[in-house]
């Protein structure tokens, strides 16, 4: 123990003899270790964000949404006369079928939505008008800030009630209590505010099947009310022609009994719908659970990729260390001869140089860990600098990068440290053995 300590001490001393060289030698390992920690932290930050967003969709949910088929398919299949608009998408019948025939579905929330303009007097805001049933609250997890959501009876009676998203409420009623007031939606309709939803983080886009959603500019009305007041057909007037389409439901969110039966239920849903949607593919099924699994796989691949990059820089660092150690061994041939003459065994020499290499790599690793731990503040700082210098660049980045918050993976620190020791051993063995193999007589004669 004492002996090992002394060897270590003398190793540190030898390195201290050339502080600049030692520092430069260590640079490779330092960068390697810091990058292991950084890359893992950034990867973790991104993937955790993605995971949170997917989880906010609900792991036990299945989302079936209407997808507009390509125009050629629509005109080919749509047929009809001059004034008939193509009809596609999910139907109320689909909703009935899914809820009635699939036993694992315990709750379902159908909805349709339009972009609308909401007004309170002179105050105006554009947002999404969502027609939904009360079950939507549970399925999408809307929390109420004030007032209440409409109930089933009010839905059936097609009442002109509405619930405002947080952003809408703030814009339209900055100084007054919105509950009980009327708002104007579009040109013709007035709705009475009965509740305000709590603000929530917008969900991110997931793959191509889910667009990002910002719930704060939503206004919720009973689905029945929307059907009676707006109907299913939306017509857009253009110069010289009219275009329109008929869609009964935009989306159905189904809550499944338990997470275990999600995949099975999703298959069942697809089978059921395929029987009735034969003309064209006009719906898509999103399974958050599946996305979650995918996200996990992606994350693992990401980590492996990052690890590979970091690994390469560590190997390069290791080779740098080996290079310097080989030079050191040659340079210190005479010292090796002296030590051998004074009784050092081959093993002692191997140990001495191995320990020096390990000290180098551990110092590099330690510095790397220290700098690696600064990942989070450094990222924030770098973001701030770039934002000030070039705001457009930041704005053009995807939101997940804009809001990047690296999370240091706790095991990356000991891992990085271990790797640096291993590198010290691996790349130190050869120079150390070279040193030990020297003939002491030759070594003593070396100038």
């Amino acid at each position: 123990m004492r002996h090992a300590l002394r060897t270590l001490q003398s190793g540190v001393k030898s390195l201290y003899l050339h502080p600049m060289r030692s520092l430069l030698t260590v640079l490779g390992i330092f960068i390697g270790v810091a990058s292991v920690i950084w890359l893992l932290a950034i990867g973790e930050g991104i993937s955790r964000k993605a995971q949170e967003q997917i989880e906010s969709l609900g792991a036990d949910n299945i989302i079936v949404s209407t997808i507009k088929p390509p125009n050629e398919a629509l005109s080919a299949g749509g047929g009809g006369g001059r004034m008939q608009f193509p009809e596609y998408g999910l139907t109320r019948a689909d909703y009935e079928r899914l809820t009635e025939t699939i036993p694992t579905v315990i709750k379902a929330a159908p909805l349709k939505d339009f972009q609308e303009t909401f007004q309170n007097g002179s105050r105006k805001i554009d947002g999404r008008l969502v027609g939904c049933t009360p079950s939507y609250v549970d399925v999408v997890k809307i929390a109420m800030f004030d007032g209440r959501f409409f109930n089933d009876q009010e839905n059936d009676e097609a009442r002109d009630y509405c619930v405002l998203g947080a952003g809408v409420a703030e814009k339209l009623f900055p100084y007054e209590e919105p509950i009980g007031k009327l708002i104007r939606v579009g040109e013709n309709y007035f709705y009475r505010v009965i509740g305000v939803a709590q603000s929530r983080d917008p969900s991110a886009a997931i793959g191509s099947s889910m667009k990002s959603e910002d719930y704060s500019f939503d206004v919720y009305i009973p689905l029945k009310t929307m059907e009676t007041r707006v109907g299913d057909t939306v017509v857009v007037r253009r110069s010289g022609s009219m275009e329109g389409e008929t869609v009964q439901l935009k989306q159905i969110t189904l809550k499944v009994k338990d997470v275990a039966s999600v995949m099975e239920t999703a298959d069942l849903i697809k089978m059921t719908l395929d029987d009735y949607h034969t003309k064209f593919e006009d719906y898509g099924v999103t399974v958050p659970l599946e996305l979650l699994e995918q996200a996990k796989t992606t994350r693992m691949m990401f980590n492996v990729f990052m690890g590979l990059i970091a690994g390469i820089s560590l190997v390069v660092g290791g080779i740098g260390i080996m290079n310097i150690m080989l030079a050191t061994v040659t340079e210190r041939t005479r010292e090796i001869g002296i030590r051998r003459a004074l009784g050092a065994k081959r093993g002692d020499i191997v140990r001495q140089f191995l320990i020096e290499t390990i000290v180098l790599s551990v110092v590099g690793g330690g510095l790397g860990v220290l700098v690696g731990l600064t990942c989070s503040p450094a990222t924030t700082f770098a973001m701030g600098v770039i934002k000030r210098a070039n705001p457009d660049l930041i704005a053009s980045l995807p939101p997940i990068v804009q809001e990047l918050k690296p999370i240091i993976v706790y095991w990356s620190v000991p891992l990085a440290f271990m790797i640096s020791i291993i590198i010290g051993v691996v790349f130190g063995v050869y120079p150390a053995i070279r040193a030990a193999k020297m003939d002491p007589i030759e070594a003593l004669r070396h100038e």
Partner: protein, 257 residues
């Protein structure tokens, strides 16, 4: 601990005399570029305890080979080498290292101190490789530094010392393991005449205290300070002349003189 390293038993030759080193019929041949070089052609030498032997000869006489063999840095092609009562002729590398660490005190022409270590640490090196470096040994190193007159420079580095001072450190280092003999290779070769005299005085003093010294040199006046001059020529002992009687103190000196 292997038995050849049994230092506590007083090693005595069969005849009752203790030889710090003994060579019988030692030959050493090298093969250099396909040609065999006969460096030593059969040398017999006995170095009794307390003696002060100067090995002399022109270059190519086998001096260095002899030095390497006595220093257990090399093995003979044939013949036997004894250190104390132990045959070290065919020990393996690790055992030879142990022998060097425990029984031989090296002093070199170019001092050969380790640059990054202080005076006191340099003195301690042989103990370190004997796995014997501890607080008590540190005290001993300080005493040895005092003995060679370097008590004020314990924490200096070799580069901060003059040649004579460095050689003093080397001599202190050669004493630290209480060796069977000090093996000095041209110890004054790099020194001016005044410092040479000082170092030789120090060696005389050590020998007077009972230390066995084997000194390799080609300078006659250095050799003349010894008790006995062994001249080598073409790998054989040409002459073995005793200048002064070897009257060692009755007891082998203890840990510190």
């Amino acid at each position: 601990m292997k038995d050849y390293k049994n230092k506590n038993a007083n090693p005595v030759d069969e005849s009752g005399q203790f030889f710090a080193a003994k060579l019988t019929g030692v030959k050493r041949e090298y093969v250099l570029k396909g040609e065999t070089v006969y460096a030593l052609r059969g040398v017999d030498l006995e170095v009794p305890q307390g003696d002060y032997v100067a090995i002399m000869g022109a270059s190519g006489s086998g001096k260095s080979t002899m030095l390497n063999l006595l220093g257990c840095l090399d093995r003979p092609t044939s013949g036997k080498i004894w250190l104390g009562r132990d045959d070290v002729t065919s020990l393996d590398d690790d055992s030879l290292s142990e022998i060097r660490a425990s029984r031989i005190g090296f002093v070199f022409q170019s001092y050969n101190l380790i640059q990054q270590l202080t005076v006191i640490e340099n003195i301690e090196v042989p103990l370190f490789y004997q796995r014997n470096a501890n607080l008590r040994s540190r005290k001993r190193c300080v005493e040895l530094a005092n003995l060679v007159g370097l008590s004020q420079r314990l924490n200096h580095r070799p580069t901060q010392l003059s040649g004579g001072q460095q050689q003093r450190v080397a001599i202190a280092r050669s004493l630290v393991n209480d060796p069977y003999f000090i093996l000095a290779d041209e110890p004054t070769g790099n020194l001016d005449s005044k410092t040479t005299a000082e170092i030789l005085d120090l060696l005389d003093e050590l020998n007077a205290q009972g230390r066995t010294i084997i000194l390799v040199t080609h300078e006659d006046d250095v050799g003349a300070r010894s008790k006995r001059i062994v001249r080598l020529r073409d790998g054989l002992i040409e002459s073995d002349v005793r200048l002064r009687p070897n009257d060692p103190p009755p007891k082998r000196p203890d840990a510190l003189v």
